[in-house]
């Protein structure tokens, strides 16, 4: 008993210092650090939107519609990014628009990440027929023009937050599965896994305790970079009117509105797009840095 109570804190300490070392190495890459700061700021904006935002994102003011950036309203407050076709403050909408984007990003990545991890573990560890079937399934999945399938399914089921998350989540597991499977294929031949097998550990235990922690880093890189892709898809869906429905502000929905006024009010379509660009760029920079730090040979 005492042995375990000593062993556990020691292991945790080691793990923590490993993460700390990783973070220090990551922080030395300036672009990765920059990406991390951008992502942190976007998350902070999403969480603190009601306090950060100077205006209500939904409140309309028809007398003040399509005002260019920097216009003051009668009470003297300034619309920093201007107002849209219904007189709503654009800055407030851009800030609140971070919420559906990140929510869909995190939730969909969680779903596809877990499915992909499971498939990759099982496929790589057991091999044989199971592996064949799962990898053919992956091929089928990859053969789909994803956006087309997503809009078809969402068109039938009706656009709502859960539907969007599940559709993106369920259809994005392949990359995770392939990367994890690749890692497992080499891990299962390693001595510590064979030792565990020789000692009679059950497959489930080996997968969870010995293989999963070692297949985690490539998974993490894929998850980070995939989140950027998911955010672009979310905004593409709302651009097509198949995302989270109005009046909830979404970056894609704002772009679709702005497109109509492209010749008179350039700011409407410009700023929501910049918000997507900055967020996705931040995630990509961070993800690239993470990959180069953790596993430079990983091809994702």
């Amino acid at each position: 008993m005492t042995a375990t109570t000593i062993a556990i804190p020691a292991k945790r300490g080691a793990a923590r210092s490993e993460w700390l070392t990783l973070f220090r190495r990551l922080a030395r890459r300036r672009t990765a650090l920059f990406g991390l700061v951008v992502v942190a700021l976007v998350f902070a904006a999403a969480l603190g939107a009601p306090w950060l935002s100077p205006w209500d994102p939904i409140e309309q003011d028809i007398t003040n519609r399509l005002k260019p950036p920097g216009s003051p309203d009668p009470s003297g407050r300034v619309h920093v990014l201007g107002t849209d076709h219904l007189g709503r403050d654009l800055l407030a909408r851009v800030i609140f628009g971070a919420r559906p984007a990140l929510l869909v990003g995190v939730a969909a990545v969680a779903i596809s990440g877990v499915i992909g991890m499971l498939v990759g573990l099982v496929s790589g560890y057991f091999g044989g027929r199971t592996d064949d079937v799962l990898m053919r399934l992956a091929d089928i999945q990859l053969a789909f023009p994803f956006i087309l399938l997503a809009i078809a399914v969402i068109g039938v089921l009706g656009p709502s937050l859960p539907v969007i998350i599940v559709v993106i989540g369920v259809s994005s597991w392949v990359v995770y599965a392939r990367v994890v499977r690749g890692a497992v294929l080499s891990l299962r031949e390693r001595e510590f896994v064979q030792a565990a097998q020789a000692l009679g550990s059950r497959d489930g235990g080996i997968l969870l305790r010995h293989i999963l922690p070692n297949a985690f880093t490539p998974w993490l890189v894929v998850a980070t970079l995939d989140m950027a892709r998911v955010i672009v898809i979310e905004s593409a869906l709302s651009f097509l009117g198949l995302g989270v429905q109005p009046p909830t502000p979404t970056w894609g929905g704002m772009l679709a509105d702005g497109r109509v006024y492209i010749s008179t009010a350039w700011w409407l379509a410009t700023f929501p797009g910049l918000a997507i660009l900055v967020t996705v760029l931040g995630i990509n920079l961070f993800g690239d840095g993470l990959r180069d730090t953790l596993d430079p040979r990983l091809k994702v």
Partner: protein
Amino acid sequence: MKTYVTRRLLQSLLVLFGVSFVVFFILHLTGDPALVLLPPDASAEDVQRFREVMGFNDPFVVQYGRFLSGALRGDFGQSVRHGESAFTLVVERMPATFELAGAALVVALVLAIPAGIVSAVRRNTMLDYISTVVALLGQSMPTFWLGIMLILVFSVQFNLLPSSGRGGLGHLILPAITLGLFTTARITRLTRSGMLEVLSQDYIRTARAKGVGDPPVVWKHALKNAAIPIVTIVGIELGTLLGGSVITETIFAWPGVGRLSVQAIYNRDYPVVQAAVFLLSSTFVLVNLAVDVLYTYLDPRIRLR
């Protein structure tokens, strides 16, 4: 060689089979395809009669069998909106989509391969930084935003290029750049990393030591070997381009399959949706098959696997 191609062929058939099942399943997602296909104000008797006529009361397997045999004969039913065969509607729009995807691919290859090579050969120079930053931006930029910004600058501000419709070369430029940018970014990064890897190989050093000049080393010795992953990604990117055409075609009012299917979804015209998804996916599968077969000529090691 023969066994490899046969195996890939069988695999593609299997994939097409899976595709057909998913496309069939789209209508059954909500549980009742009759409610999906009929307008919301249809009466209960109408729904019942429609179910009988369409055979929605039959067992699932029978319905799927009927769908599959129809799909193989190019019969996806009538378009609810246009009253024409859904298959014909989609096939008529195919050339426009292929034209756009092809142009986008040309844009991507013409920009990306030189950019990637220069980036790798002149590593850590200003040129490399510029191309890397542009590639990174290109990968992070949503297509639809780029499209709108291009319209803003080239159509609205300077009135240089048309912003919608299909016609001459002028109509093709903005949509092709919009659709091709993401692919350009990916191929640039891949070419750069591929060339960097190859340029550090021993045989390149040998060639240089033997006095081979810079251009032949880069173009003859290095590029040939860096080309293999580029060919693979071109196959994969064609899928991205076909799927991405949905959004680009919507922005530029390009009369292709992508725009047709978005409109079909708005109009709840599901036979057309099914035909479009099935035909685009099949195209993608066949392109990938072709790329893989081509691949065996570039890299004979593949055949042995």
